[in-house]
Symmetry: C2
Subunit: 479 residues, 2 copies
């Protein structure tokens, strides 16, 4: 059925719920945006009851919901007031964590060797080779399968890593201080695109590049950071949102700003010219270099909002290639997990949706701080990479405001007339509305080492939030 256009103005429809209506609107030449709608509590009466019991009660400041509201206001105040600054580049992770030993840090929640996705297994093998703990990939695989190297999560060390997110003892790490709250956060360094460790590649070229990062890039950037007296990451992110980045899947402007800071700092620093040249060129050729820094900035920000009693604010979203896992401010180190969805987006020539690994990496920390899918309105240019229309990109940012506590006045979205980016995902609002937080993401091939095959959008599973809500309700003896 085609809807007759009785009104001469272009038809703009926002669809809620059943989506069969959309096709006819689009047939009639109208713009149709699909939004998520599910019944409160995902149709589960007990959960709907819990949501209702956790709603604020204006008449009772001691009601659970009122206490949660106050705790969330504090969490968001900490997010908004955060001042993440890149203060150092540690030459090796073991200097940051002297007890790290042969532990291999990875993205997302804990996962056993046999359950790891292809890219993460490939990355683990690469890290073992890089460290010299095995001579061949086969030897590395065998020893990994026997459990000779402990695994741990980046997040439990105050760190984040994109894709498989591997950090091992000899890798250099960026050190970020949240100058407003005093906490530190860490991440590894971008290797660029193509065959890289974070997508599971582990050939000699990959190991050689990691050694160059360790021996050339890291000391050069350390000198730059020292010379600059620290590099303000939040300021870069705020400017980047005015320049077409959403600071997760697009970091072209953030990378250029970081490069500007580094190049000026190096010009007054006694670094060997060849190292300076190689380092600047490496960053200039990789428009996603700033991704790791955007992530660690978000991690330093969200850690400051973690551990607030009663707060239902999500402080981390992380994916290990199997599950998507969520942490909540009041609920300690527990992960609330569910199987990850596959991102939907655009694929590089020769690759298809069937080759895609389920959603992977710690980079969703960006969304918890208001970047990525939450700031998609800032990045119409990203539509060319991930698909969809600019109107849809803007609509994602509007929609995410329905499940967050506040807007960050320091991070403005030009296409929403400079409204602040929505931040502080409230577990209650997600479960109440059924609107699942949306992430922008790179798409990895499910086989180790093929690398990135596309980029897209993914919704995080509702089950993460329903589990978290039940756990939060339990802390108030609501069952």
């Amino acid at each position: 059925m085609t809807i007759p256009l009785l009104d001469p103005r272009p038809l703009s429809v926002i669809n809620v719920g059943v989506d069969s209506f959309l096709a006819s609107v689009r047939e009639a030449g109208g713009t149709a945006l699909d939004t998520e709608w599910r019944p409160p509590g995902d149709g589960d009466p007990a959960l709907a009851w819990a949501v209702a019991m956790l709603a604020p009660d204006p008449a009772d400041p001691q009601a659970p919901g009122s206490r949660i509201d106050r705790a969330n206001a504090l969490a968001v105040e900490r997010i908004v007031s955060s001042q993440p600054v890149l203060v150092d580049v540690a030459p090796h992770a073991r200097e940051v964590w002297p007890d790290l030993g042969r532990t291999l840090l990875h993205a997302g929640a804990p996962v056993a060797w046999d359950d790891m996705c292809g890219p993460m297994q490939g990355s683990m093998i690469g890290a073992v080779l890089y460290e010299g703990w095995a001579a061949t990939p086969d030897e590395a695989r065998g020893r990994l399968a026997k459990g000779e190297f402990p695994f741990a999560q980046c997040h439990d060390r105050g760190a984040v890593g994109p894709m498989s997110g591997i950090i091992s003892a000899s890798m250099p790490v960026f050190v970020v201080e949240n100058r407003a709250h005093g906490n530190l956060a860490y991440t590894n360094m971008s290797e660029g695109i193509g065959r890289v460790l974070r997508f599971g590649a582990n050939g000699p070229d990959v190991i050689a590049r990691l050694k160059w990062i360790e021996n050339t890039l890291a000391p050069t950037l350390r000198a730059a950071v020292k010379s600059a007296g620290g590099i303000d990451l939040k300021s870069i992110q705020a400017q980047a949102l005015l320049m077409g980045d959403e600071a997760h899947s697009r970091n072209a402007a953030g990378t250029l700003q970081f490069l500007a800071a580094v190049s000026v700092a190096l010009a007054k620093s006694p670094v060997e010219p060849q190292a300076t040249y190689e380092s600047l060129k490496f960053i200039a050729d990789n428009s996603q270099f700033f991704l790791n820094l955007s992530m660690v900035s978000a991690k330093a920000t969200m850690d400051a909002a973690h551990g607030i009693a009663d707060s239902s604010v999500v402080t981390a979203i992380a994916r290990n290639g199997r599950t998507t896992a969520v942490r909540v401010s009041a609920l300690g180190p527990a992960w609330f997990q569910a199987p990850s969805d596959n991102p939907v987006g655009l694929f590089f020539p020769g690759f298809t949706q069937e080759m895609a690994n389920p959603d992977l990496g710690d980079s969703a920390i960006c969304e918890t701080a208001g970047f990525g899918g939450f700031s998609l309105a800032a990045s119409p240019a990203l539509v060319q990479l991930v698909g969809g229309t600019v109107a849809q990109a803007v609509e994602y940012s509007r929609e995410m405001a329905d499940i967050t506590v506040a807007r960050n006045p320091g991070l403005t979205l030009p296409n929403l007339d400079f409204a602040g980016s929505p931040c502080g995902i409230d577990v209650r609002k997600v479960v109440d509305t059924g609107i699942r937080p949306v992430l922008t993401t790179g798409i990895a091939h499910r086989e180790a080492g093929v690398g990135q095959i596309g980029a897209g959008i993914v919704r995080t599973p509702l089950a993460c939030y329903t589990q978290a809500l039940r756990a939060l309700a339990a802390t108030f003896d609501i069952r």
Copy 2:
């Protein structure tokens, strides 16, 4: 009267002509965009007749309008295929123009000393002091008034300059080659903001900075350009449109890209470290540094479209602080001029509209090539500087497509779903529709040396285009 909102959707109105209707729409909470409308030929029957006689005739390929259409297609093909590349930095203007002598080049059409606006007179005095042709401002003023230094237009030397646009013999100039068509273009170097020559300041600090530009910045950038093998300006502009610049009043992304290219090139070039540091820092601290380069890129592009018989495409718009002047491809070096309007926009604290100088500078060359007001949809962030709403910014780009020949497929506007920027202003379309080309612009204080006091939007006078249309009609013996 308030319009009752019978339809629940937000009211969005585009107003054509009489503007008293707008207030009531806005009162009712609707969005109202004002567009220009005037009767064809500005209400002049003879001009309307000329417009009709210059319209293409599908039945007669030799009809004037058919010939103009073919000529315009060629002009736009030259614009779209242009490849402006920064190929050198000439240490002094006199090396580019050995016959320059004591001639002072300025923005816009010819203007006598007594008729020059305050900022341009101040700039002239500064240039004479900088060259050492006078010892004091009073001496310089006296000798300028006596006509001791010839004036000429930047445009007649293939050059452009922002604001008063002064270029004198000792100033270094950027040299740009249009590699598709072989023509060269030139511009001076940005001095940053505040008290600067181009706004008419001429104190010792201004002269000292110009000497630093001559002795430090120019040779450093020359080394960088040589080391890089040229810097592709069009590629920078195309990326900048994806990053929130419109490449006239906002060049934050263009400047960062230029800085990236320069910093990488300098890292493998034997320039003295202190000069490198000072130069990189100077560019990094001035987000409009790329403006001059965006202008000269546009000049190199539009000169390639100039001089095509029968073409009604505007190849230059320039303002000398008194008049706005327009050149047309088929009509040689003639300027079609009318008194400039005052820009309307936002003013820095302490300054008001009454203090504004009429529109000034060669920078409107950007609009002729499709940047600035024509690409305003690319730059929602600019709204914070010039006023208005993001919707209005987008609407300007839509409107300018009504008076241009084509869209440039290499310069895309994300907020218009990646439509190309409108380029090739057709004098016939301007006179037919009454839609005047819109410019983004800095606003100068009308007194010399105060500097920039704001930024805004200005429409170019219709009389420029009506005069040009009459001259074009005359070439076809239409009167």
